[in-house]
């Protein structure tokens, strides 16, 4: 178990930036997900951590040891960081047992101890019966487990997983998610889990780092990401709902400020005095016929237990939940309350009734 630290880490490929100014600390024993669209630099960050590539600038620390940066570079084989590849990267010429035993063989663990530890790792991943098989004779899910067993058998200081479920079908994904959770509980290992699937990230991780174009946009617990997104990208990428621009009214109500959203005065939680946008989650919208704000239903889908309505209100598309079906084109009234307001760095603050200022 170890803490991973990144200070101002940047990586360029032939001049094209893949990572820019990454600052983050992953605490010992924490399960962190790197979430972001394809091409945002998740794999690059993982490979820098494992030591397969060197950062262009910045520093990476493993506990208090600098493993990359300031002219120092610790080779991957000396970092004791396990990695599970998207392609599994099982060695096709070694049996399942030999694949899992290899890390111990490299460390010169005596034969008897090796057998015991491999058996333990195989048992933990439910592979006891498959020790003699060759990787080619396994299904995708089983290969994934072998890769995991190979990684946990040498008790690495951190475990990195690169989109481990991307090649599996839906049913297997759910069961493998449980395997990862169980693995994390049992070993208490520091884990960094790369995915582009927010469901996976929010379900598994203690904290999620949302990435976009080589930068970490927000690094927080799943519920914080959902309730208090830091900017338009995070608000739109994580969870359901809408992002709508807002104007300052200068009023407050209790702890909250009051903003002008879609021409209505709406109570908003915030950490900034100068918000530009609000994130309106479906829970923040109450449908009622008497409400002032009118909207038109543009879509209605059944989610099981409730309906999800897409609403067009003053040119913005909002999302609300409803207990009964609505016809498309139908007009409804709604009220908005308790939204999250934030300052998006790419936008200017606007104030009701006054010319906008920067």
């Amino acid at each position: 178990m170890a803490e991973l630290g990144f200070s101002n880490v940047s990586k360029q490929f032939d001049g094209a930036p893949a990572l820019q100014g990454i600052d983050a600390t992953i605490r010992s024993g924490e399960f962190v997900a790197l979430l972001g669209p394809s091409g945002c630099g998740k794999t690059t960050l993982l490979r820098l951590t494992a030591g397969f590539d060197q950062p262009t600038a910045g520093e990476i620390r493993l506990d208090d040891q600098v493993v990359a940066g300031h002219g120092r570079f610790v080779a991957p084989e000396a970092r004791e960081i396990g990695i599970v590849f998207q392609s599994y990267a099982l060695w096709p010429h070694k049996s399942v047992f030999a694949n899992v035993a290899y890390p111990l063989e490299v460390r010169g663990v005596p034969r008897a101890a090796r057998r015991a530890r491999v058996a333990e790792a195989l048992a933990l991943t439910g592979l006891t019966a498959y020790g003699d098989r060759m990787p080619a004779q396994l299904s995708g899910g089983q290969r994934q487990r072998v890769a995991l067993a190979r990684c946990l058998v040498f008790e690495p200081r951190a475990v990195l997983l690169d989109e481990p479920l991307a090649n599996l079908d839906l049913a297997l994904r759910a069961s493998m998610q449980e395997v990862f959770s169980m693995f994390h509980r049992r070993t208490g290992a520091t884990m960094v889990y790369v995915t582009h699937d927010q469901g996976e990230a929010l379900a598994l991780a203690d904290r999620v780092a949302v990435m976009e174009s080589g930068k970490i946009r927000q690094f927080a617990a799943p519920e914080v990401l959902y309730r208090e997104p830091a900017d338009c990208f995070v608000a739109g990428f994580v969870g359901d709902g809408a992002v709508v621009s807002a104007r300052l009214t200068g009023k407050t109500r209790g702890e909250c400020m009051v903003l002008d959203v879609l021409g209505q005065e709406v109570r908003a939680r915030s950490r900034t005095a100068t918000p530009t946008h609000v994130s309106i989650r479906p829970e923040a919208i109450t449908l009622s016929d008497s409400a002032m704000l009118r909207a038109r239903v543009t879509n209605c889908t059944y989610l099981g237990g409730r309906f999800r309505l897409s609403l067009d209100a003053a040119g913005e598309t909002l999302v609300a939940f409803s207990s009964c079906r609505a016809a498309i084109g139908e007009g409804v009234g709604m009220s908005i309350d308790d939204v999250w307001a934030f300052h998006d760095p790419d936008h200017e603050v606007r104030v009701t009734g006054m010319p906008s200022y920067a």
């Binding site: 610790v74 084989e77 004791e80 490299v106 040498f154």
Partner: protein
């Protein structure tokens, strides 16, 4: 962590040390050729062009050059005819038994040229055992018809047909099937499709294959030596050989110029072939989903019969003639069931010290070359694929040179380089080591390319996974890369062995008493009239070669595409 740190230190230093294999490889592979280039401008005794002008203005030089161009050119045309016909029929039509046909067409390429020449000589001419059995032999004293430019052209054409075949077939596989289907939909018949669609599209491959056959024919020594020297018909390689054998190392500066001359012609051929190939793909993106398959209909059986008869004539007949001669009690005697004897075989394989020594030398050279190249090529190929640098890329581009250049050129280059080892009084000339050095230089690509191909196919994550669990570079190479590249490495090693064990051109110029190779002894036996023993020795080598080829073929499924030359 402390244990890990020391291991890490070791592997980092290996990572730093590994690039240094580039240096000896570059020296061994490219040093001699560079040395030869310098010789041309009078390296050693001041820069001068006198050698160049005297040798080039001598009439024998012009004649030999003309003969080289005529025989290589004629042979190439014949190769294009044979190889082209086979490639079109095998790649495009529904004839049966393609694998067997291709295997048989490839055997002439693997059989050393002097054995081919010997076998054909046993088939034609007044002393042909076969013709005597049939009562068709021309009267004694009439000339051997193969001792002529025509004979050389015929055998060169057959020997190198497979080169055209392989290049053309590779090209044909790139023609998308839908192009042909579109033509058929427009109502074109098989022959029309071939003439108007397939032939124009495959022309660059055909020309490139021809260029390759030309360069190889130009450097061929065994065939013009066996067929041309008795008829005083000299090509550049045989001229160089006769000069050097007749006068010794004193004529080195002279023959260096001849070697450069043939080297220049060869390089022009190589570059021309590469240029045509590079321009080949006018929009023929990738492999077609399903291969072309033109139905031959009623013509199929006659075509199949014709192909097999052809194979019979170029392969089975000469080898049968060779076998028949090897069973004679004495050359010129008629072969009957009673007179047939294994005496020559016994003599050659068990008694004659020269042939036994030659077997020993050739096996030693071939095994050492294969083993040394195997050991060097694995890290080298890994370095080229995973840690590309300008140095490794330059070496990658130039390492073809010693193989592509005619063997005599490399031999002269090696003599120049190793006659006086730099900075010492030692010489390798006259020892077996000079032959080994030349083999190492010449066969490097044969070993390197298959290993490179299999490492390129390896998912880098395989090695990264090993690194992440703590394996240093040395361990990764041993535990992961080596086992996974082993089948290709084995194929490469067998190919090196196969090519080296019956090599003649290089060793013909580098041997001395005691370091004879098999190729040299066959030539010398025939040259001194011991045709029966030469035939027995040659036949034993053919058996060895076919056995080894079969071995490689049997393991074919293990190798990545393109490792086995006759499979592509």
């Amino acid at each position: 962590m402390s244990v890990a740190s020391t291991r890490h230190g070791g592997s980092r230093s290996l990572d730093r040390l590994l690039p240094f294999v580039l240096l000896p490889v570059a020296l061994v592979a490219l040093g001699p050729v560079t040395r030869l280039l310098l010789e041309g401008v009078g390296f050693g005794d001041g820069f001068t062009t006198t050698h160049l002008s005297t040798v080039l203005s001598r009439p024998s030089t012009g004649t030999a050059l003309k003969h080289s161009l005529v025989t290589a050119g004629g042979g190439t045309l014949l190769s294009i005819l044979i190889g082209g016909a086979f490639a079109f029929l095998v790649a495009l039509t529904n004839i049966r038994g393609k694998a067997a046909l291709v295997f048989c067409l490839m055997i002439p390429m693997m059989i050393p040229p002097q054995i081919t020449a010997l076998a054909w000589m046993q088939m034609a001419g007044p002393s042909s055992t076969l013709l005597k059995i049939l009562g068709l032999a021309p009267p004694l004293g009439s000339p051997q018809p193969l001792h002529s430019a025509g004979g050389i052209i015929l055998l060169l054409g057959i020997q190198h047909a497979s080169l055209v075949f392989l290049t053309l077939r590779a090209g044909l596989r790139m023609i998308p099937a839908d192009l042909v289907e579109a033509a058929r939909m427009s109502g074109a018949g098989s022959l029309r499709v071939w003439a108007q669609i397939v032939l124009p599209l495959s022309m660059p491959s055909l020309i490139a294959g021809g260029a390759m056959a030309f360069v190889t024919a130009l450097g061929n020594f065994g065939i013009p030596a066996m067929l041309g020297i008795p008829a005083q018909y000299d090509t550049l390689p045989t001229l160089i050989y006769q000069r050097l054998v007749g006068m010794g190392p004193s004529v080195l500066p002279e023959v260096a110029v001849l070697a450069l001359l043939i080297g220049v012609v060869a390089i022009i051929g190589v570059l021309f072939g590469r240029y045509v190939l590079a321009r080949r793909g006018f929009g023929l993106a990738g492999l077609s989903a399903q291969p072309l398959s033109l139905l031959l209909g009623k013509a199929r059986l006659p075509v199949e019969i014709a192909l097999w008869v052809f194979i019979f004539v170029i392969l089975a007949l000469p080898l049968t003639a060779l076998l028949a001669t090897s069973l004679l009690p004495a050359y010129g005697v008629a072969l009957t069931l009673e007179s047939a004897t294994f005496e020559a075989w016994r003599e050659v394989l068990l008694h004659q010290p020269v042939t036994r020594r030659a077997y020993g030398n050739s096996l030693f050279l071939a095994l050492s070359a294969a083993a040394i190249l195997l050991v060097i090529s694995l890290p080298l190929a890994w370095l080229m694929e995973r840690r590309g640098s300008w140095a490794s890329r330059a070496l990658d581009a130039l390492i073809d040179l010693p193989y592509a250049l005619p063997g005599v050129v490399l031999s002269i280059a090696c003599i120049l380089t190793f006659l006086n080892l730099p900075f010492t009084d030692l010489t390798l000339y006259g020892t077996i080591w000079i032959i080994l050095m030349a083999y190492l230089a010449r066969f490097f690509v044969v070993m390197l390319r298959p290993i490179q191909a299999s490492i390129a196919q390896l998912d880098p994550a395989m090695e990264e996974a090993a690194a992440s669990v703590g394996a240093g570079l040395g361990r990764r190479l041993r535990d992961i890369v080596l086992p996974l590249a082993a089948p290709s490495a084995a194929a490469g090693a067998i190919l090196v062995f196969l090519t080296a064990v019956n090599e003649l051109t290089v060793s013909a110029l580098l041997w001395s008493s005691g370091t004879e190779t098999l190729g040299v002894v066959i030539y010398n036996l025939e040259d001194s009239g011991e045709t029966v023993m030469a035939s027995a020795l040659a036949m034993s080598i053919v058996l060895l070669i076919v056995l080894l080829m079969g071995l490689v073929q049997a393991g074919a499924k293990q190798f990545p595409k393109g490792v086995i030359p006759w499979q592509s």
